[in-house]
Point group: C2
Chain length 107, copies 2
């Protein structure tokens, strides 16, 4: 039937999968790398850097933003994207926890 059957899985399992999905596209990894480098980036600059069109870049930015990984502050007509360090730390812990739990189980 083609639909992801989310409802049969636990909340925490779905959460981790959702976060992994944010990282599952190379453009989004590249965007996070670049924003980390410049700390306060314009969509236009990001789109030039990663060589995707402005609309496509904007869409990826929205997806990352929805996960909480990005903050942005408008300054005039420009929007400066920054990484949300708190959310990044949360993500890091969630993934680490998953890997360590899985590691312990199979040792």
């Amino acid at each position: 039937m083609g639909v992801s059957k989310r409802h049969i899985h636990s909340v925490s399992v779905n959460q981790l999968a959702d976060l992994a999905k944010v990282l599952s596209h190379p453009a989004r990894i590249a965007i996070l790398n670049y924003i980390g480098d410049c700390d306060g980036c314009l969509c236009k600059d990001i789109s030039e850097k990663i060589r995707l069109s402005q609309p496509t870049t904007s869409q990826h930015l929205q997806i990352i933003k929805k996960s909480g990984l990005l903050k942005s502050n408008y300054s005039g007509k420009s929007q400066y994207y920054k990484i949300n360090p708190d959310r990044l730390a949360t993500l890091k812990n969630l993934f680490q926890e998953f890997f360590e739990t899985t590691e312990k189980k199979c040792s």
Copy 2:
């Protein structure tokens, strides 16, 4: 044009995205959790546990297997899936490295 433009990104960026994609479906997270628990699981049992059909479960298993995260040893007609601890450790390190590098950049 609707195709993922992998070629414009670096190899390491694509690799991380590919691995995240393996984890980006709740069924695959659930499978990894379950296999960790029993350490040597049959596809049939997994499919019952995660409540997806046998063909669907088998497909997910192939996707995880292609990433190197699963080993399997045939024992008669049954195939016992196990987690590959070496590959799991590699994955853990790759994600940790990504998070820590990104953290350092934006501090």
